[in-house]
C-alpha cells in the first residue's frame, strides 16, 4: 500500500501534457487479499519464529510473559541426537515415497497412453476415485485393511501361503507400520502424478514415436530418448511437488501411529507436534518446525525453478 502514498506527489505536478492518474482500483481490489494474508499467514509465520527464539512452555502460554533466549532452542534441538534420527528418517521416508510415486506413476501414465478408449476411461475413473478419497477416510480404511484378526490383507496373505501372517499385528511393529504408511501415501499420490504425466505425454508429437519405431527402437529406448527428455520439466515439477507433500505429510502418520510404535514413524512434522503437544515445549516445537520450513524452502526453490523452465518451454 505504500504505492498509494506516492500518488498525490506526482499528481500535483501542474499542467503535465498527459495527466495519467495512477489507478487506485487494482490496489483496492487486492487489499482484502493482502490484509488476510498478512494476518492469517505472515503473522503466524513470524509468530513461529518469535516463539522459537523464546522460552515458551506451558507457564508462558498461560501468563504470556515469555523471555527471549536467542538461539538457545535451536542449539538444543540441533545438539539432540534424537532430532538427527528424525531428520534421517524423514529423508528416507521422503526418498522411498517419492521414488515409488514417480516410477509407478510413470508406468501408469505410459500404460494409459497405450490403452484403448474404454479401458483408459476405466483406469482413469479408478484413479479419480482414489484421488477423491479424503485422507481421513483412506487412513481409516487402511487401518481396517491391515487389522490383525479380521483384516482382509492378513486373510489374503494366509490364503496365498504365508501362514505366519495369521493374526499378524502390523501396527505393533515399527517397520511394518512404516511400510503401511508408505503404501498409503503412494496409493494416494499416484492419481495426481499419473494423470498429470499422462496429460503431458499426449502432447508429445506422434511423428517422433513413429520415426523411432521405424528405426527399431524398443520401449525403453523410446522413453529414455524421446518421452523423458521432452517432458523433463514436467517430471521435475511433479517430483518437487511430491517431495514437498511427502515431507509435510502429517495426518496419515498422526492418525495411524502418532509417530509410533516407539519412534519408528516419527517424521519432522510429527516430531514438532509431539514436542509441542505432549511435552508442552512450544519453543522447541516451533524451532523444529522452522527447521522443517527451511528444508521445504529448498524443495520449493527447486520447484519454482522447474515452474519457470516449464513456462519457458511451453
Amino acid at each position: 500500500m505504500t504505492l498509494l502514498a506516492e500518488r498525490p506527489v506526482r499528481e500535483t505536478a501542474p499542467a503535465a501534457p498527459k495527466r495519467r492518474k495512477r489507478p487506485v482500483l487494482p490496489y483496492l481490489l487486492i487489499a482484502p487479499t493482502l490484509v488476510t494474508t498478512a494476518y492469517l499467514l505472515v503473522y503466524p509465520l513470524v509468530r513461529n519464529v518469535i516463539i522459537s527464539l523464546q522460552e515458551f512452555g506451558l507457564p508462558q502460554l498461560v501468563r504470556g510473559d515469555a523471555k527471549f533466549v536467542g538461539l538457545a532452542n535451536y542449539v538444543k534441538v540441533l545438539s539432540d541426537p534424537e532430532f538427527w534420527g528424525v531428520v534421517k528418517r524423514t529423508l528416507w521416508f521422503t526418498a522411498i515415497n517419492v521414488v515409488l510415486i514417480m516410477v509407478l506413476s510413470t508406468l501408469v501414465a505410459l500404460l494409459l497412453v497405450r490403452l484403448g478408449k474404454w479401458l483408459r476411461l476405466l483406469v482413469m475413473g479408478g484413479l479419480v476415485l482414489t484421488w477423491a478419497t479424503p485422507i481421513i477416510a483412506a487412513t481409516t480404511v487402511f487401518q481396517w485393511l491391515f487389522q490383525s484378526r479380521l483384516g482382509v490383507v492378513n486373510w489374503a496373505l494366509v490364503a496365498l501361503g504365508f501362514p505366519e501372517y495369521r493374526d499378524y499385528t502390523w501396527f505393533a511393529d515399527g517397520e511394518a507400520t512404516f511400510g503401511i504408511l508408505i503404501t498409503l501415501i503412494v496409493w494416494q499420490s499416484i492419481p495426481f502424478a499419473a494423470l498429470s504425466l499422462y496429460a503431458a505425454m499426449i502432447t508429445v508429437p506422434q511423428e517422433l514415436y513413429e520415426a523411432a519405431r521405424i528405426d527399431g527402437a524398443g520401449a525403453w529406448r523410446v522413453f529414455s530418448t524421446i518421452t523423458f527428455p521432452m517432458l523433463r520439466a514436467m517430471f521435475g515439477l511433479i517430483t518437487c511437488l511430491e517431495v514437498i507433500w511427502v515431507v509435510k505429510a502429517f495426518v496419515q502418520i498422526w492418525v495411524i501411529s502418532q509417530g509410533g510404535p516407539g519412534q519408528a514413524t516419527t517424521t519432522l512434522p510429527v516430531y514438532a507436534f509431539q514436542v509441542a503437544q505432549s511435552l508442552q515445549r512450544y519453543d522447541l516445537g516451533a524451532a523444529v518446525s522452522m527447521l522443517m520450513v527451511v528444508l521445504l524452502v529448498l524443495a520449493l526453490l527447486a520447484y519454482f525453478r522447474q515452474l519457470y523452465r516449464q513456462e519457458r518451454d511451453t
Binding site: 489507478p23 482500483l25 487494482p26 490496489y27 481490489l29 487486492i30 482484502p32 487479499t33 488476510t36 494474508t37 492469517l40 509465520l45 513461529n48 502460554l61 504470556g64 501408469v108 500404460l111 483406469v123 482413469m124 479408478g126 484413479l127 479419480v128 476415485l129 484421488w131 477423491a132 478419497t133 479424503p134 485422507i135 481421513i136 477416510a137 481409516t140 480404511v141 481396517w144 485393511l145 487389522q147 479380521l150 482382509v152 486373510w155 496409493w187 499416484i190 492419481p191 494423470l195 496429460a199 515439477l237 511437488l241 507433500w245 509435510k248 502429517f250 495426518v251 492418525v255 512434522p269 503437544q277 512450544y282 518446525s289 522452522m290 522443517m292 520450513v293 521445504l296 520449493l300 520447484y303
Partner: protein, 273 residues
C-alpha cells in the same frame, strides 16, 4: 496380441488396486456384522444391511459434527470466493505496478506448509480467545483455500474475452454493470468448480481441527470425529466404515459433478490436499 493382453491385464490390476480400498470400505459398511467376523471374507454385499448406517447416524453428536463441518467449510469457501474474485479481477483484467510481485506472492502462499504453523496458530487462537470456536477454523480454512481460489478464478476470468466486456461498456454499461451482467454469468461455472474444490479441502482438513477444538467436544468436525472412532464405536468396524462412507459421500458427489474439469482444471492448478 501378447502385448495387448498384458496391457489389458496391467490396466485391470491398476484399476483393482485403485478401487479396492474404497470398495472394501463401502462393502464392509453394508455387510452384516457376523459376515465380517467369518473366517473367509465375502467379496459381494449379499446379504445387504443398512443397520450400520443407522448406528453411525445415531452416534452421539453425529448431526452437530456434520453441521459444524458444513458451516466451517461453507463459510471458508464463501469468504475465499469474495476476496479472491476481487483479486483475480485485478490480476486478469487490469495493468498495475506490482502485479507480478502479487502473483508471485499468491503462488508462494499456495505452497504454504500449514503443518509447520500448527503451533503459532494454536498460540494465537488461545491469545485471542478463539480457541474451541468454529471461527478460528473458518479463518484458517479461508486462508488455506484463498491462493488456490485466486489462481483458478484468474484462469477462468482470463478465458473470457475482454471484448465482451468492452462491447457492453460501449453499449452504455458501467464497468460494474458490464462485470455483473456479462462476465459473471460466464464465470458462474468456474466459480462453482473452484468453490467446490475449496470446499473439499476444508471438509477434509484434520490437523487444525484436531488441535484447535479441544475442550468443547460438540464443536468438533467430522474428520476429527472419524479419527476417534475407537472411542465412538469401540471395535465396530462396520459402523466405522459406514461413517467413513457417509463422510466421503459429499466429496464423491462433487467429483462426479465436476468430472470433466477434474483432470484439466486441477492438473493446471496443481493442487492436492
Amino acid at each position: 496380441m501378447i502385448g495387448r493382453i498384458s496391457r489389458t491385464t496391467a490396466a485391470l490390476i491398476v484399476f483393482v488396486i485403485s478401487v479396492f480400498p474404497v470398495y472394501w470400505m463401502v462393502l464392509t459398511a453394508f455387510k452384516p456384522t457376523k459376515d465380517i467376523q467369518s473366517a473367509t471374507p465375502t467379496f459381494l454385499p449379499i446379504p445387504i444391511t443398512f443397520d450400520h448406517f443407522g448406528t453411525a447416524i445415531a452416534a452421539k453428536g453425529f448431526f452437530s459434527f456434520w453441521r459444524n463441518s458444513l458451516l466451517v467449510a461453507g463459510g471458508a469457501v464463501v469468504l475465499a470466493l469474495l476476496v479472491a474474485l476481487l483479486a483475480a479481477f485485478a490480476i486478469a483484467r487490469l495493468r498495475w505496478k506490482g502485479r507480478r510481485a502479487f502473483v508471485l506472492m499468491v503462488f508462494v502462499a499456495q505452497m504454504t506448509p500449514w503443518e509447520a504453523l500448527l503451533i503459532p496458530i494454536y498460540v494465537i487462537a488461545r491469545d485471542t480467545g478463539m480457541l474451541d470456536t468454529l471461527w478460528i477454523l473458518t479463518l484458517v480454512y479461508f486462508m488455506m483455500t484463498l491462493p488456490f481460489t485466486i489462481v483458478t478464478l484468474r484462469g477462468f476470468l482470463a478465458a473470457i474475452p475482454v471484448d465482451l466486456e468492452e462491447a457492453a461498456q460501449v453499449d452504455g454499461c458501467t464497468r460494474g454493470q458490464a462485470f455483473r451482467k456479462v462476465v459473471f454469468p460466464l464465470l458462474a461455472p468456474g466459480l462453482l468448480a473452484t468453490s467446490l474444490f475449496g470446499f473439499i479441502t476444508a471438509w477434509n482438513e484434520f490437523a487444525f481441527a484436531n488441535v484447535l477444538i479441544i475442550k468443547d467436544q460438540d464443536d468438533r468436525t467430522l474428520p476429527v470425529w472419524l479419527s476417534s472412532f475407537n472411542n465412538t464405536f469401540g471395535t465396530d468396524w462396520c459402523a466405522t466404515m459406514a461413517a467413513s462412507t457417509l463422510f466421503m459421500l459429499p466429496v464423491l458427489l462433487i467429483f462426479v459433478v465436476l468430472q470433466g474439469r477434474v483432470t484439466t482444471g486441477i492438473v493446471g492448478g496443481a493442487v492436492k490436499g
